[in-house]
Amino acid sequence: MKVKVLCRNPDDYVRETTKDIQRVPRNYDPSLHPFEIPREFTRALNATKLERVFAKPFLASLDGHRDGVNCMAKHPASLSTLLSGSCDGEVKMWNLTKRECTRTLQAHEGFVRGMCTRFCGTSFFTVGDDKTIKQWKMEAPSYGEEEEPLTTILGKAVYTGIDHHWKEGIFATCGQQVDIWDEQKSSPIRTFSWGVDSFNSVRFNPVETHLLASCASDRSIVLYDMREATPLKKVIMKLRSNTLCWNPMEAFNFTCANEDYNLYSFDMRRLDVPKVVHMDHVSAVLDLDYSPTGMEFVSASFDKTVRIFPKDSGRSREVYHTKRMQHVICVKWSPDNKYILTGSDEMNIRLWKANASEKLGVLSPREKAAMNYNQKLKDKFQHHPQVRRIARHRHLPKPVYSQSKELRVMKEARRRKERNVHKHSKPGSVPLVTEKEKHVLTVVK
């Protein structure tokens, strides 16, 4: 038998210490608090404005390279460690918290084309223009010891990219063909080639770890299964893809950075049409990296900007640029989802916040609550023109701005022409092609 009695818990109205804020019993009668929507709207507007006021994403610039930064690699176990390889064959290891270089080694003659870390973080691999694959220890050599690679494999042709398996001691390189290597062996355990002679990049799937994909210079993206003897499928696009990146939370989705200023998100089960076309860059996209949560990705472009795209959105939510940053060649999203690292032509590595207006450091619970509330308000009123206008406002470098305007005009003209052609031709003779369908030429089985 349930007995119901009136009870009053002192915890509800007595504060624990005198330092606490007095608990104030509140009356939530809506008639006492009128104008909910206007008040919340004002709060949302203010929050949006403050967000723009506090949007200062640039954190630090790491300088030390003597040539353009060509590639970077994240440490799988340490947030503060970053590896970067430059066009003069130098590899540097950085401590991000101290913002200083901890180690420098001359890895290759010529470019360091690609680098990757072993999944455990004990060593890393580099490939360079000198046709070698080198494995290096993560720890710096002790005093008096010479900087020497653990292993060196001399290949027949230049390797342009490398990526390590996420769970096993296997890595893949690309160049004239895609090779799968066992760490213990000096010759590839598997070689894939499919009528192409040069590949730009190769990436392992972080979820289904035996899958990998590569971009080739014949404008194709090729999928492989490490266990199979042949490649799986190839999709040929209108222009060449520079790199691609798998979504770390969705096994079958990947995004590729294309020369035609766009990025394309594909579902590997449906290669004929990209899921989303991400447009905003005004020059070739050179690199991209997914956020570890798989919700967004960051892309680096030849137009000297870095953009952040939500994975489902065709437009970027953020654009980063500085006056001194030149063509951004490589970009990485830090594994704690907080920072973005970019390496650019003018020898610098830059550290950005992934969320431009985020307050760094520990937040007090009230701060956190206020932040959450503001975020929610911004989301709630994001469609209102006043709020949207402020939230979307970004300053762009002049060339990018004018170029994007120009592109818009061109696009509009093209669209108009297409529409007119469609309108004035025999019905059915000119099919309407959607933006998504336009960019894929064929899928080769």
Binding site: M1, K2, R26, Y28, H33, E36, I37, R39, E40, F41, R43, P76, A77, L79, F119, C120, G121, T122, W166, P206, V207, E208, L211, L223, D225, E228, A229, T230, P231, L232, K233, P248, M249, E250, A251, F252, N253, M268, R269, P292, T293, G294, M295, P335, D336, N337, K338, V362, A369, N372, Y373, Q375, K376, L377, F381, H383, H384, P385, Q386, K445
Partner: protein
Amino acid sequence: MSLSECNVHLKAASCFCMWVKFSKSLTVAETVEDEDEKESFKADDTVISASEDEGGSDDERKHRKLLDAISSLGGKKRRKLAERSEASAQISEFSVSAEGAGEKITLSDLIGTIEKTSVISKTKKQLKNLKNRHDTLELPLSRQQTEKIQREVAYGKTSKEVSSWQGVVVRNQKAEQLVFPLNQEPSGPKPVEQMVTGWKAQTPLEQEIFNLLHMNKQPLHDPVLTPTEEASLKAMSLEEAKIRRAELQKVRALQSYYEAKAKREKKIKSKKYHKVLNKAKRKEFLKQFEEMRKTDPAAALEQLQKMELGRMQERMSLKHQNSGKWAKSRAIMAKYDNEARKAMQQQLEVNKELTQKLAVPSDSEDEEGPEEEAPALPDFVNEAEPADATNPWMMGKLTVEAPEPGEGSDTEPPAGGFQEQENPEDGAEEEEVTEEEALLRQFEERRKLRQTQNGGQDVVPGEKEGEVAEIVNEGDAVGVVEISDNDDDDEEVEDEVSEFNSLFQKLAEKEQVAVIEEATTNNAGAESCEEPALLEEGLTRLRSLEDMDLLSQDVSIETGEPAVQSSVTAASEETAIPQLKKKKKNMIDCNEVLTKEAKVIKIHIAPTAIEEEEENEEEQKMIIKEAFAGDDVISDFLKDKKKLEAAGKPKVVDLTLPGWGEWGGLGLKPSRKKRRRFCVKADPPPPRRDQNLPSVIISEKRNSSIAMHQVSQLPFPFESPEQFESCIRTPIGNTWNTQRTVQKLTAPKVITQMGAIIEPITKEDFMKGKTLATTRKQPDIIDFLPRWFKPEMEMNK
């Protein structure tokens, strides 16, 4: 070269060679014949062996011979060719003649010479068969094609494999909140044992303690849980426990409800209620007993004995024998008080019932009737008409039975005969519903009879409608015998009848007199025809007067109707209610009754259908006409505009309060002066923008200053403006909501832990999410390290 041709040739050759057989002098020209002959004699030898036997001379010659032999097979033409060609041409390096360059040598060419040897003929046959078969192996596919197929297969396999993530991806997309890293350790204190695994017992005391622990199977190191704890952990995870707790809670609640209900029921003082309850229980018990009798005779016997014992006890005791204190007081009152008398009688009835010898189970059904009836009857009598006409029981009865005041005057069926008719029907047990009907019908008839006999009948005041239900319920079990009982004591029945009388009277009165009259006139002769008309008129009123007319006229169509009409006679009723038979037995559903009626309606609607169609066409025309004729758009527009203008004008506000400064009250109005004084006239609105534009309506509602702040298009995820508006309307701030609600409403979509590395999703996460409740791993020491250290440790191992 055909085989038959060759054979003919060979036969001729063999004839020739009969006499040459023993002479060893062989010419080159004869060689072939000779060989053939040899073979024909040596049935067992193969071709090769024969040639070997022959081969006494040198190789070249042999070869030549063979070639000749082969060439000779071709017939004349070939031989000629051979003669013409050069020797070198005939002997090629591959030991096959190159002669007849274009032609092929077929198998039959080589073997055809062999004749009729049993073994060889067998092989020949096989070869022939082989030749006839056409399913040859195809060429292996080209490398490109093979690879393509391989690729497609591999791709299909991989994409299928990858598709297993689809569910996870969709779930994450829909998730309200995602917390990264995915496989986080549960927060909270950890057992001390895990934290101090490296520690070892050193002092004697410690060792002693450890020994003790060992004795008790207490774990010291890695698996810090005792076997029992492990088992319990395995048995129930947190979620399971939650589910279990919820279940228990629910059970407890249900129990408390049940208790409360029982208490409430116990508190009810109404005797009637308890009587009904007891009766129901008894009935239930009997039913069970009946079942038991069939399924488990032994138990039934036991039960029977128990019942017998109860009966004996009852007989022995003075209970229910009107000998108690209460009974005595009642007896005193009985002289004056009707009810007291009844109560006493009732008690006696109970006694009678309880002491009734149990019948043989086979006819228990029939027997039970009177047993139960006995106590039931008095209630019945006491009861009066329920005022509630909405009672489904009544409705059901009435619609089936169609009470008609006029009927009584017309007919009075002999009661006995009626029952005789009823009996066979009731014998069929399935028709409990019909039994009730029959019972009620009988009452009805008696009521009518009484009405005719004496117009005014004293009516016992009504009590409860529930009583009626009770009666009907009884009727279920009582069956025929009850009716016969009724017959026996007529007076009692008459009481009942009077009751029912009043019960249905109101309803009957409501009926249209005209209809009744008509029905009676139409069906004056046969009573069987009477009832249906009444039936249909009954509360359902599914037909009108006209329909009635039609009904009487269309005799031909009425072939289906007698079933309904003759509801008074039981036999015909049986045919009428086949549908009912299958339906629920106890409850009479209004709808069922309605369906019955609907059948009738269908019949006489049928002929009018064509007319209706015609009408429909006309209607259609009219509709079209209407649609296009009254298309006075302009005047409509003007009207609309005027309406809008009128709506836009401010209204006069009357602030007059009655009673101030003068008398107020019902029927008094404030004075004109006052009204004039307190009426507030608003200022005229600004002129409408479409004032001077006769053909335009400009909406004044739109406010450009607000439009700036309004959302022009419906944003993506929303499906309707209302949805969006409601979303905007709900405030989320702590000004309007409690703290907890605010926390819930403002929970961020993605939560990341500061300084934690977010690993890509793995199969384990996905599996964990799937079967979190079932598979809970033992806490492993390694798990306490951050996840990204694990691989390294493995490496070090």
